[in-house]
Symmetry: C2
Subunit: 130 residues, 2 copies
């Protein structure tokens, strides 16, 4: 993988922010200081970094994919008000996969859990813009 300034910036943006940004969020954060940057480049690099295992790509039903610098498998929560994604303090349970595989004859490779609700700040101030 040949070095590129853009990829470095994109990776840094995901790692240095505890938010789980979408491609568009990364783009918006970088665009002001890097006006030549293209959204396509952001998508390409986020996908590539995820493929290399440097980031986690978290696809979200009915919404843009989020990217996460935390590499260990874990679960997420999406705020129904501000669409922000946060990590959930629940230990990952790899045994779920084998339990299902055993019962069904399917080959289970992984699973995701997504919680829906209001994030801490939206829960406190329901009408804030977050």
């Amino acid at each position: 993988m040949a070095y590129s300034k853009q990829r470095e910036l994109i990776l840094k943006t995901v790692l240095n922010n505890r938010i789980h940004p979408t491609a568009d969020t990364v783009f918006s954060l970088l665009k002001p200081d890097h006006p030549e940057l293209s959204l396509a480049t952001v998508y390409r690099n986020l996908n590539q970094l995820a493929k290399q295992g440097l980031l986690l790509k978290i696809p979200v039903p009915n919404g843009a994919d989020h990217f996460d610098g935390t590499l260990e498998a874990h679960y997420h929560m999406i705020c129904e008000q501000c669409s922000q994604m946060v990590d959930v303090p629940k230990e990952y349970v790899p045994e779920f996969d084998s339990q299902i595989a055993e019962k069904t004859g399917c080959a289970i490779h992984s699973h995701t859990i997504v919680f829906y609700g209001l994030c801490e700040s939206c829960n406190r101030t329901p009408h804030a813009s977050c």
Copy 2:
């Protein structure tokens, strides 16, 4: 909700098939016998039926929404080969929500678990078209 022939057909299609069809699948199943049917009508009715609680809408990361005639909360598995969705024999665990809510100060309303792997038939015959 005023009766319509189209809605009846769409609902029947979801209920009578144990597959969890997408809007497009429903459309394809009905189109041959109902050439005038519009995909927009299928989307509108599936969403409406889900809102009325007659169906479950199952949004899927990076894929089309599936619709399910089984109303009790339950979990799903998506086949990575044929994209078919199947129910998973794992009891729904509503306590997950309150556990997370308690630990975080978020208001958790619901959660979904999606398993990824190969469905039974794809697992047996890896190269079949399903």
